[in-house]
Structure formats: C-alpha cells, structure tokens
Amino acid sequence: MARIPTTELGRYLLLGQINRQGCLRRRPFQLATATSIGQLRRVSSSVGAPTSSVPTSPTTAPLRKQLKDQAKLLKASGHKKKKNVDNQTVPGWELTVGIEIHAQLNTSRKLFSAAATSFNDSPNSHVAPFDLAIPGSQPIFQPETLIPAVRAALALNCEIQHTSRFDRKHYFHWDQPAGYQITQFYEPFARNGYIELMSRDGIAAQDGQGIRVGIQQVQLEQDTAKTTAQPDGVQWLDFNRVGVPLIEIITRPEIHHPATAAALVRKVQVLLNSVDACVSGMETGGLRADVNVSVRRTDDATAGLGTRTEIKNLSSFKAVEDAIIAERDRQIAVLEAGGVIAGETRGWSLGSTETRRLRGKEGEVDYRYMPDPDLGPVVIDPKLVEYLASSSGVRPDDETDELIHKHGLTAKDAISLLMLDNGARVQYFYNVLDALDARLGNASCETIVGQPASTLAANWCLHELGKLTEVSSDLDMTPDGECRIRSADLAAILYHLMRKEITAKVARELLWSVYREDISRGGVTDAIAAGDLWFHELSEAEYTALADTVLRGEEKIVAEFTRHAEGKSKQYPQGKLMFLVGKVMRAGPEQRMDPASVERTLKARIDQVCVPGVQTQG
C-alpha cells in the first residue's frame, strides 16, 4: 500500500476529513445544499443557514496536544532507521552467517608461474605464458607461496595437512584466460581451525565476553585479471594480477549476529597483517569477503538452517554489518509474508537499504570441480610447519594482553594504539617507553605523578600526538616507530614531567615546539633551561596561605562542606571544591602551582580548620 501523506493522515485523525478525490459516490450533501441555497438566494430573498454534515473541528484540543499527535504520526509513517547496535537480533528469529574471505598473499612470485607479483605496475608487464593460458604452457607450483599461506593458516589455529591437491573450478569469464580457476576444493592444505573473538574486538553485546568461530578450511587459489570498464561495452584487461596467490578462508556457520561477523573480518585482517601474509587491507581490495546469510524461527529448533543467500562485493567492515542486517530483514519479511527464500547471489553497494539480486538459480554456475592432472600434490614437511610456527612472532592477542596487563592500558586504548598508523604507533610507544625507562633507571616516579610511566607514555602517544595534527599521516610515522618527534625527545619531556620538573602545560608546549622543529633533536632539557621553564613549586606554607585567603571570603561554600561533614548531605561537594581550586589558581602565580597539590591543600584546610571552626561557632 502506498504511503499516505502525513497531511492527509493528520486531517483525517484530527479533523475527521477525508479527501474524496476520485471517489465513485456522489458528492456530499452539503455541497448540493450550498448550490441549491445559492440558487434559492438568487430566486428568493429568504436566507437559510446551510446545514453542514462535516463535524466542526475540535476547538477544545490544546495546541501542545495537537503538535504531539502530529509528531507521533510522523514517527509512525516515516522511516526511522534503527542504529546497528540496537538491531542485532529480531525476536523470534535466529540469524546464521558464514563468511568466505579471499586474501591476496604477500609473495614475490605468482602461484603457478615464476612471473613477479606487482601492484599498479605497467599493465601486462608481469605475465608468463601460462598466465595467458597459451596452449602448451604448464603450471609450475612455486613453493615459496607456502610461507605466508602456512603462517596465515597457523594464525587461524588450523591443522596443516601433510598432502593437499589442486582442483579445477570451471567457469568462463574474460578475466580468466584458462576457462577454469585452479583451487583446492577436495583436499585443502589447512583444516579445522578457529578464531577467538573477545568483547574488545567489537562483537555484538549478545555474544557476551567472547565467542569461538570455527574455520572449516583454508585453501590456495589463483586470482583473476583486473578489468577496467570503458564506454560502449569495451573492457580493458590487465593480466598482471592473474595467477597471483590467494587464500580462501571459509568459516563454519557459527556466527549469529551482524556485528560479530564484521568483527571477525576485522580480526582476520589483523591476524593476516601480523604474520605478513596479506598484501593490503579490505579498503584497498587486498581482502574480499563474501557472506552467506540465512534465517530460521527460534521456536523451530528441529528444522535445519534456512535457505542461504550469498552476498558479494562487500568492500568494508561496515558494509559487512549493514548488508547482513538488510538481508536478514528482507528474508524475514519474505518468510513472514508466506514466501520462500530463493538460494541466490546478491550484491550490496554503499548507501543501499536492501541487497539486490545479481544472479538467480537459473544462472547458477555448475563448477564441475575436477582434480587438476597437470599438478602434483603439495607435500609439506612438518619441520617446515614447525619452523614457520616458531618464527611468526608474538600473536596480536598476546600483544594486546601484554599492553593491558603489563603496561596498564585500558582495552579501548590498547586496541586504538594497535590500529593507528598500521601498527607503527605502537612501535613508537615501545620506543618511547624504552627510552623513558632507561632515563628513569631504578627510580620509580609513580607516586610523584600519580601514574606509572607506561600509562603516561601511552596517553601521550595516543592523545597528545593526535592533537598535534589533523591527519595522522602528517606525523610521518615509520614502520619502525619513529616520527617527526623523535622517541628520545618525547621520552625526555615525559621524564621531566614525571619528576615534576615541568608542568603538564609546559610539557604540551614543548611537544608543539619539538614538532615544529623549534627545538633541535636532543635539545629538550637545554630548551627548558634556556627558557627557565622549570617548575618551582610553591611551598606547603605558601599554598596554605593562599588557601586561607580564598576560603576567608567563601563562608557559604564552607557551609556546604560542614553540612556534608555532619551527614546532612550525602555527596561530597566535589564541584564546589574544584571551583575553589580554580579560584586559588587564579589568586596566585599559576605557573608555580600544581592543581593536584592545590586540591589536596584546600581539602586538608577545609576538613581540619574551617569545618571544625564553623561547628564550634554554630
């Protein structure tokens, strides 16, 4: 049914009027009466008040009620989009999602020919005869492609199979010269893995603290050519990408919420990056995800999973979540209306509200998988697997745990630090922390500044560095963890800050000067000395004197503290205390005062002197 305009709805509900345009019935009585009365008037001079069959508009309803009713109408008839966070489940229905991820492997040569892999090189410059399926050319398996492939499978906790074989997947397309893709359908090289997702990875709240999603298999396969569409149905083909090794990661259908699916794809990218297995991320096309979605009613546990549809062309993590939600809603709508879900392939584009059909059942391709007779089995030595497992470095989860438990960061800060600048920012943090620890030596300054060196360094690397520039790439962070601000210089600033030799305000100004290269490398301490920026703190007595001066004029506020001390108000008047702190800071030499010390002194004075003073008076 077409959407009814709100004005019409409003007029009907509030005024009882219906638009009679197009009605088959005769025109209502009052119009005929009006015309006849009019005619009567012309004929005779008797005047009769025309009877109206339209009820009089309710003059008694107040304006506020009318506005409220109209707002309710607007909400009911308009499209109010639910936020993804609130849209993870639909009562009465269970969603099941399986994901297939294709990642381009980081190798120097292709999978079945010795041609080099490349990115944006001159078109058709890295093409071997086999890549173009020139008759008579044979595939030659390049063993070095196993290094990133096996590391990726190990990062996903898979069992590496001793022997695996290649199969042909037949379909015709211009971006695949041979007419088939060489993949590993029957005997993949890795099986039965799993990924652990935790709440800090951004899974749906309904999945609790963590969820383990099984990986069915990981297989090696070839990539296709790059097509550039030109006008009039012309396609330009660049075969540099044909035959580049991909791994396809197939998960088990154990995901039940859209946010978890997006978190899984994100985590897979992080894992592949950590073992240097993938070339680039989802945004640049190095990682592609295809999602299989099905729904079934929750009260029908005996029935199997519903018919699944596949969504392709997902190019970002948010698209994964949005597309799954849209497809789930579409499938529920179809099933509730009594229809049947067709097992088809659908697509999604940025900004859509619904998936669109790409290919139906009649266009379904039968791939006729067949073992490739030109290639021998891939036999992997267990010693090689052992070596690759041991040389993969620290796992991302372990690194995050170390940041949280050893260095004291919050989970949110740890994840942010790891994500920024492609992992370079956390290297910078480690460099700064090392330099800072070296300077501090055995002395622990934690009690002075109130937090350990690691959390201070993390706060500065995350937040203060971020405040310097609009775009984080302006910092010129190298993968080894150095940027325009040398880690040694930042460590020097933080060292002085930790020993309370400079205030936080001065420290920030120093950071800005270092960034603008007003201070030379290694010249932080000299700059402080030259500008006489040392923090000469006021003594305890001077603080107390200032506190007393301010408190003398603030009887009313002291009364609040007295009331709290006597138990008449439940909460300590912290806001009033900070107001007093501000007053004291303004009263004295600000560059010589530390707000924390002022607060401490004020509190002490109030509790020990002023409150008892008032109590003895009153």
Partner: protein, 198 residues
C-alpha cells in the same frame, strides 16, 4: 600315457627321440595350457564390444532412465560456452547423441568402486618419490632468507627490495597475439549484463 620305446617325434617340438619322457610330455602340456592363457590368446577374442551399448539405444533406455530436457541441454551448452542449437532438428539430434553418451557413462558407473580412490594422475608414489616431492626448509632456503624480523613483537616481514629474477619468464611480447589492444591493455568487447558471472 607312457610312450613306447619307438622312434617318434614330439608334437610340441621338433625333437625326435627314442625316449619321450613323462616330464618332457608334461612340460609340453604346460606350454600348451600357457599358450591358451598367453596375452595373444587372451586378446585375440573380444569379450565385450562397444557395440553392445550402441545396439537398441531406444528400448533399453526408455524404461527408467531420465530424459534430457531441452532446458537441461541449453543449460549445459551455456556452461560449456557452446552455441545453442540452430533448429529443433539439430536440438533433437543433440539430445539423442547426449542420451546415448550417457548410456555409456551409466554402463561404466555399474563397476563397483567402493573403497577405491580415483586416480587423478600417475606420479611416483614410492617413498623416495614422496621425499622428492616434499617441500621443506631446504627448498625454501632462499625465500626464508629474504625476510627479516622487525619490531618489538619480532614479527617476520618480507624484504621488498630484493630483485626478482624473471629472465625467461616475462621477457616475451604478451600483447603480440592480441587482435585488439589499447596501449598496453587487452581489449574485450562485452555484451550487456555480462560483467558479473563468477
């Protein structure tokens, strides 16, 4: 039967002797039996002929074998990128040929292959052959040397500046065989709606 000590020649060989011993006779008996089992004897008479599957194509097939429909034929032709039949007569003849080919296939499928793994290729399956095929640390020595350990977490990173020797692989004119090209690109002309097939 024991031979009498008379001069006779042996049927199986050209020896003539006064004594055709039992053992000599027995050996010829064995030879005759073996010649009946010899490869040439076995192969001289066929036990089965392909014609047995061609004879009566309509009668034996009508019973319970499913017919190939026109829709199935068109689907198969589309999968194989073959042109559709140009006339109903050609379509009927294609279907007839396909049905008899499937009759052959069904005959082959009668063979009991439980627990028999299909042969995908003939390769050296000896222990030595398997060892030769195994990919281990030795085979990947060069590739493993082309990576370095970086960062606080000691992670492996492939060195990007190592030159890749592609002599004999990339040094040929890939575009020479193209009927149409645009600069360094191959050109393909597509029909509408053909962009997304896979």
């Amino acid at each position: 039967m024991m031979a009498a000590p008379i001069i006779s020649s042996c049927a199986g060989c050209t020896r003539s002797s006064r004594l055709l011993s039992l053992s000599h006779r027995l050996s010829h008996l064995q030879q005759r039996r073996q010649s009946q089992l010899s490869p040439s004897a076995i192969l001289s008479k066929p036990t089965w002929s392909v014609r047995s599957l061609l004879d009566s194509p309509s009668s034996s097939q009508d019973a319970d074998t499913p017919k190939i429909t026109s829709a199935q034929l068109h689907h198969l032709l589309r999968l194989s990128a073959l042109p559709p039949p140009s006339s109903p007569v050609e379509e009927a003849s294609m279907i007839k040929t396909l049905q008899s080919q499937l009759h052959f296939v069904r005959a082959i499928q009668q063979v009991d292959t439980t627990d028999v793994k299909p042969l995908s290729s003939i390769r050296d399956e000896t222990a030595a052959g398997l060892e030769e095929m195994t990919i281990g640390l030795d085979q990947l020595k060069d590739a493993l040397e082309a990576e370095e350990i970086r960062g606080h977490c000691r992670r492996p990173r492939r060195k990007r500046d190592v030159p890749v020797d592609t002599a004999g692989v990339e040094d040929w004119d890939a575009l020479a065989g193209a009927s149409e090209k645009a600069g360094k690109y191959f050109i393909v002309r597509s029909a509408k709606g053909m962009e997304d097939v896979s």
